[in-house]
């Protein structure tokens, strides 16, 4: 009897009971036969481990479909047709882009700073304050107090930017002037009375007063440097839109033997931001990027290993934090976070680095970036993380 044939049938699972008993009895007595069985089983196990189906590359799949006049499918969708919950499909196809847009709107609403209060024209503001305090019609001309006693000091200020603080100061000064004027009249009256009763004395009372002449000008003239401290700090910053273009040639931590597409628009992102103040910006960012995808699945009872590197469009909400400039060098730190959706799954990215604004509205960006794609196949979630540098430029409008 050829026991090697029996071993072959044993491996195939086709050995009947009687032959099985005969084989086992022989195996118990024959060491060489046992060695032969172990070798066959070792080969079988190695083959079964290697039985993962070879998956056609995405480029070949696209070639097949386009050659037949069909729309080339995304690599992920080939895997996704056999699995993925409805929730995952909703999240990847429609929900996340919509959610990102809603998040961008909510973020913009939350970060929105109150509008800088607009100042009334100086003359109108002054008129209102004077009317409120004296009840008398406001004077259009600058306020002035003709001194009836020696004036110790006169401070002349030219004010161009109307602001509440200064208006209050002017109102206070007017009150003080009125009180001093009344005091002066009282003293004059008293002096006249005393002069009649007493001989003239060597000393005389010299009321000290301060008179302020405030010239209101509507024409914008630069403030004297020494007066700036009386005015609140006004930054030259203006809120407005920003367009940012950057590249992210990141390295994937998921190893793949499949080459990604090298189209010119791959691995770049375009953002439309609104800068609310010097610190906060938010908006929408979109891009096209390759993400290696390596995952295992089960199809018709066989283990399948997918290895692909598809490019996918993504778009979503982005938020950017800009730090203060370092010593007016033009350099400033920044951080940016983006949550986006794509046809393969949600994409998250974060970067931090420096910006350089040499002049005008142009800003250069350089930083470190981390991004990841989350995708599911047969109810199992996988991540495709990437790390590297990001660089680009932004233009403020």
């Amino acid at each position: 009897m050829d026991y090697s044939e029996l071993i072959n049938q044993l491996i195939d699972g086709e050995l009947d009971t009687a032959a099985e008993a005969s084989l086992y009895a022989r195996l118990a007595a024959d060491a060489d036969l046992r060695t032969s069985l172990r070798e066959q089983l070792a080969m079988r196990f190695a083959i079964q481990e290697d039985r993962a189906l070879l998956v056609p590359p995405a480029a070949l799949t696209n070639k097949v479909f386009t050659g037949l006049g069909f729309t080339a499918p995304l690599a992920g969708s080939i895997a996704g047709t056999a699995g993925g919950s409805m929730l995952a499909q909703w999240l990847t196809r429609l929900g996340l882009p919509v959610a990102s847009a809603l998040m961008a709107a909510g973020l913009a609403f939350w970060i929105q700073q109150p509008a800088t209060p607009t100042h009334e024209p100086m003359a109108d503001s002054y008129r209102n304050i004077q009317t409120a305090q004296t009840g008398a019609p406001a004077l259009e001309s600058p306020i002035s107090v003709a001194p009836t006693a020696p004036v110790t000091q006169t401070i002349v200020r030219t004010v161009t930017a109307p602001d509440i603080t200064l208006l209050r100061t002017i109102a206070q000064l007017r009150d003080e002037n009125n009180r001093l004027r009344e005091a002066l009249f009282a003293i004059q009256h008293h002096n006249e009375a005393d002069r009649e009763e007493q001989p003239r004395m060597d000393s005389r009372v010299i009321p000290v007063t301060s008179a302020f002449t405030v010239t209101m000008q509507r024409s914008p003239e630069p403030l004297p440097f020494e007066q700036r401290s009386l005015l609140p700090h006004t930054s030259p910053f203006q809120a407005g839109p920003v367009v940012q273009l950057r590249g992210f040639p990141l390295s994937a931590s998921t190893g793949t033997a499949v080459q990604g597409t090298s189209d010119w628009y791959t691995n770049i992102g375009l953002a439309f931001l609104y800068r609310f103040n010097q610190t906060h910006s938010a908006g929408i960012e979109m891009g096209n990027e390759t993400f290696p995808m390596v995952f295992d699945g089960n199809r018709n009872g066989q283990l399948i290993r997918y290895d692909q590197n598809p490019a996918t469009m993504w778009w979503g909400a982005t938020y950017r934090y800009s730090g203060p400039q370092w010593s007016e060098s033009g350099f400033a730190p920044y951080g940016q976070v983006t949550l986006a959706g794509s046809q393969l799954g949600p994409v998250g990215r974060t970067s931090a680095g420096v910006t350089y604004s040499p002049a005008g509205n142009l800003t250069f960006v350089l930083g470190a970036e981390a991004a990841t794609l989350a995708y599911s196949f047969q109810n199992q979630w996988y991540l495709s993380p990437k790390f590297g540098l990001t660089y680009g430029l932004a233009i403020r409008f």
Partner: protein
């Protein structure tokens, strides 16, 4: 409404001739592209030729579906088309000696280290087998076909299929004997 993944192979094949051919083809491609690709690669031993045959297989398959709307075994039919194209290519090339292609044994795997030495040795030994043995062995061990499916595909007798697989195993074992002795002693 039924998803395409719920259709049987026969129903999908019937749809190939209708207006829903693209979706039906996509589903059938998703189910059997791996099987066809694996078969091509292991039979041909040459990546470029295997890719050409892979593409031609599905082209012939779709053309045939539009002519004949009834088919009982789609998988077997695809493998038959692939097999015929492989052997036609080999005849055209007039060469029985296949070049050893590194990528055949490491195609599409991202973790090279996962393929242990034994796998690589077996794959190398396959190259040394005669075509008929290699084909039967690949269908049985790598494609997981039953002996009955192999006989239908190769148009041979059941006993012939079993003998070919048995002899292929024996031959591979003989080729790898020195290495198997090393594994035993480790």
């Amino acid at each position: 409404m039924r998803q395409f993944s719920e259709y049987t192979d026969v129903e999908l094949f019937r749809l190939l001739a209708s207006g829903q051919s693209e979706d039906a083809f996509g589903e059938l491609y998703a189910r059997y592209s791996g099987t066809v690709y694996s078969y091509c690669m292991r039979l041909m031993g040459d990546k470029e030729k295997a890719h050409d045959i892979f593409q031609d297989t599905f082209m012939h398959f779709l053309q045939s579906a539009r002519r004949h709307q009834q088919l009982d075994n789609v998988k077997g039919y695809l493998l038959t088309i692939t097999r015929n194209l492989c052997f036609n290519e080999k005849k055209r090339a007039s060469s029985q000696n296949l070049e050893f292609d590194e990528e055949l044994y490491n195609p599409g795997f991202s973790r090279e280290a996962d393929r242990n030495e034994m796998m690589q040795l077996i794959a190398m030994a396959l190259e040394l087998l005669p075509d008929d043995m290699r084909e039967a062995f690949v269908l049985r061990e790598y494609q997981g076909l039953t002996y009955q499916e192999i006989t239908e595909l190769l148009k041979i007798k059941l006993e012939t299929a079993k003998v070919r697989v048995f002899r292929a195993r024996q031959r591979i074992k003989e080729i790898l004997q020195p290495y198997l002795d090393e594994f035993q002693h480790d």
